[in-house]
Symmetry: D2
Subunit: 341 residues, 4 copies
């Protein structure tokens, strides 16, 4: 059993912990955090299903005051795991890395850290083999993770020369007050980092993109204009490829998937914990051809989309499976991905 | 075992079904709907935990086309239950009532129907006894249900003469596209129906109010200015009363409950199905005195708040418990309300 | 002096009236509407600078009650003009057309009507010559009007083979309550009508597109992926073309144009009536190359963008100027477009 | 002619400058700012109707680079005026005060500064006399300014004992990206500062209040529950008082004033510069009685509401008029307030 710890029990950290707890070949040793946040308070109300460790700087008195039990220090956690999943706030992960190196353990960092924090910039489908045995992985961000699923899917089957993406980005998570946008669409300078990141992971595909922030909380939407390497990819060809991908849900507007919030509604109705969904959505009725290009739109559930690829990352770093196919199959099985197909 | 059916498997209907399924002294016979909506599709993906019955006008071919099994017709469902919970779209409930009368069964209608549809306009705490043995109950709307919890709580303990409320209303549910408001606050003519409804349920308290629609999807906020009957109600007195109510969660901004969406975030983190919460929130740091008045603010989780009082309604209509205290205690036990206190 | 009337004094109609009033070679005979709306009440508070005519079905008593004077009937207006600008609600324009035909006058319909209402689907830059002497023109919608400005600009200079567009659409106008979207991004089925409309106006360019509705009120954003006919169009080439177009404002994020609402803020600060802007915005820092493609983003001020092209339409229909260059030059002069360059 | 300068040409500063320019008994010497913001760029595009002075720390090269002319330094401006209107960012005003003292000139600070910056916390209607001859005034914030108009109006005519307010606050101005809220209602700790500020200005009235931030940009809405000192104030009595106040517009939902954004729409349609409105709105159909209390709702145009009271402040500080009635009459005349009554 691979022993895993999670640093930072926020939006991503909670879901990483849940994800690890579902992997039958892994053990979640515990989670670490700094303060009795709402998420930690919820953990207490649930009866502490996960052990809590306190990072340096944590004020024990604050935890004691509200009766939240803790098992030990961050060092205790690190000393007892094979690998840490680090979802600390941006900039903290790189500091934690020194501790991981000292303890001789591996780690996977989330999108908030700089690429330089890790040996390998990782995606479970597009470059699993690069992560095999690596000590420090950095996972692609939520948008890039979901985007690459769809681009790699087409590329693997038909070959792609270039993509141009438009990211219609949700600006805050549900429950955020410290950031937000009100009645405005905000531009980022082009090209967007997601296009550049895609080229780092898939260097044989040219990519560019424009990102626009929008005032919503559930799910980015990305449009992709793709150009095949070996001739035109038709709508039928694209659809056939997308439908076989376990982490892509092909949906239709006519079936009720009218926009990004339909996925959240549907995941809540499914009874998924937190209303989360691991799959990206892809609208069948968005796929259109234009001359030699194919265009389509996907939905990225930003809170949960990177969880499966992070599980893949554990598998790669610890050589649990030798290749992407066998690793993603295990991850998918334990997370219940693809059951519905 | 009391046999219960649910008509209309939408936002409220799904939660009614879940609520009944949790009551160990009730049996959910099935749910009825018209079309293979996203909610029905989710039910199928979950493996049909509830039996589906098709209402008149349903196109069986559409269900067959996507492989959604159904158990029978609406008449089949009605013929097999003691009571129906009707959460059909507004105006349909009154038509269904004729069927219920024919079948000789009882029913509880949700807030969308006119008061005249029912014999008793019902709230589990404020007028349980009026509902005892009644054939047709109508439940108060989400805002009124939550509001009355807090007003009845103060009234029962200290006596209230009048209240003036300001309802800051969420305008759509998560996943709605057919209604919404963008960058606008919309006024309703005063007094708001919630103030009038409060007076219908609690005729000894004068009430008025102003309602403003706001462009958010999770949780109304209501401010209440209350005037005691027997002298001033202080902050300490109010707090003491609120803290003992099982269906009120007293929270603090300093603990992280910064606004309406904190409750949704917290309920998701708790692992509650759909991220739902049955309790209203009440901010301790909102309670202020002004001269002889006391003022406070509450949060209403619009999708789920009426579920407990509807369970109470079943208990009243079928005389399962003789009074509010014993009935709400049963409901709360099965729904897990108050465990956290 | 060409005599012009405006039917429908709403969001577009008011701006058409203002636009005509600024053209020194035209005379605004009056505007027609049905009810004492806020816009008509504002006209009264301004001292009735434009004559009001009442359309059929108008209740004179309602106008009298609030002291709003009217000059005559719709027939009176029609009988006294050379051309009508019809910005009635969708579907009304086609009914009005019968009246225009009877009276032997010309008309220009706005985007809400079906293309079949008119002889020519019109854009002032892309197909002015087709409108010369035509009796009935239909103007492209706001998004299409602005989009074509930029696409025609590149096509005229360098030749274009195809474009793929992503429309990030504002969902309501400021002051709308009857439509809106709350915390959701809504998909339209692809291809979007704007792509199809572009091909109708510019049949030598292939176009496709995806449209996503967003919950904001000021200004659509469109990203365009364009493929040149005669080789690659570089960023410098594109920028050079865009900078010379009178109805395109090239701006930079670093100068403070952070998103769609910056244009509205800037236009208000300019003292423009209603905070309107006739030009589209184009972000210099959004222009990126990808392989053989060029990509860029524009901002569409939905309330006012079609006004200049409608003035061009009057000039075409009445043969006031023989070609696009001379007509748009006149329109621009009177509207103050390009002064700032 | 009273000579006036404006420090800080942002949302408020621009409107202060416009307001002074309209007062025929005042002269706007110039405005001062730090950087070539969008507002300063708009000033340039308008042909520099106001003289620009550069505050300390301004980088002249940046102004030169875009061809924005400046007249001199902040010291030059201060040396040439009788009074400064300081709408610098919060915290800067108090530093500027030292310069004003050195130069022996008066100043009026806006709501962002602490009360201690000034000798008198000022409102043109409620305590004009306190400001007579004072050297340093601080104006009430936008919400407090508008709120006091209505409360003072009732108090002056009928006497008030206490008020309890609910502030439904817009969270950002149009064009803001640095702050905002997305799909959330955020609570402030009670009592809100506006209630406390009201008591500072009107110490004979008790006040409390709760403030909720909402994700909109145009116009706060405040509900007021008021209790008369000499018996019940009826709806008719309240309405009669409100209708005579020059800076209150009594409107009706039935006339089209459906919410906060209707005022902005209406002001734009009126042709008001920037779509601004100096008056607060008050909904006739929101006025309701409850027992001995009266309740009503007002709309606060946050960008422009404090301009008239600031003009009043100049009149008080420089003893231009001896009392509130004569001073506000002058201000109103020059700003065009009340013409429409």
């Amino acid at each position: 059993m691979i022993k895993v710890g999670v640093a930072g029990y926020g939006v991503i950290g909670q879901r990483l912990a849940d994800g690890v707890a579902l992997q039958k070949d892994m053990e979640l040793v515990g989670i670490a955090d700094l303060a009795p946040t709402l998420s930690i308070r919820a953990l207490k109300e649930r009866g502490m299903p996960y052990n809590l460790y306190l990072v340096e700087g944590a004020d024990k008195a604050k935890f004691d005051a509200v009766g939240i039990p803790y098992k030990g220090t961050f060092a205790d956690l690190i000393g007892n795991v094979d690998i840490m999943l680090d979802s600390s706030p941006g900039g903290v992960g790189v500091k934690n890395k020194a501790l991981y190196e000292q303890a001789g353990i591996k780690a996977i960092f989330q999108g908030g850290e700089k690429n330089s924090v890790a040996d390998v910039f990782f995606h479970g489908y597009a470059n699993y083999e690069k992560g095999l045995g690596a000590n420090y992985l950095k996972l692609t961000s939520c948008n890039t993770t979901g985007l690459i699923r769809s681009v790699d899917c087409l590329d693997r089957k038909y070959g792609l020369e270039r993509v141009a993406i438009t990211i219609i980005r949700r600006v805050a998570d549900p429950g955020d007050y410290h950031r937000g946008l009100t009645n405005a669409l905000q531009m980022d300078k082009a090209p967007s980092h997601q296009a550049l990141d895609l080229m780092t992971i898939m260097p044989h595909v040219a990519a560019t993109g424009i990102l626009v922030h929008t005032p919503v909380t559930h799910g980015h939407i990305i449009t992709v204009v793709a150009h095949g390497k070996k001739g035109k990819i038709t709508k039928d060809m694209a659809l056939e490829a997308f439908k076989t991908h376990p982490r892509i849900r092909v949906v239709r507007i006519d079936d009720g998937f009218l926009g990004n919030s339909s996925f959240f509604r549907y995941a809540r109705d499914l009874g998924n914990p937190r209303g989360d969904m691991y799959e990206i959505g892809l609208w069948e009725d968005s796929i259109v051809e234009s001359g030699e290009d194919i265009m389509y739109a996907i939905n990225i559930p930003q809170e949960s989309v990177t969880i499966p690829e992070t599980m893949d990352g554990i598998r790669a770093a610890l050589k649990m499976q030798p290749d992407s196919v066998s690793a993603t199959t295990e991850t998918n099985k334990y997370l219940g991905i693809g059951k519905w197909k």
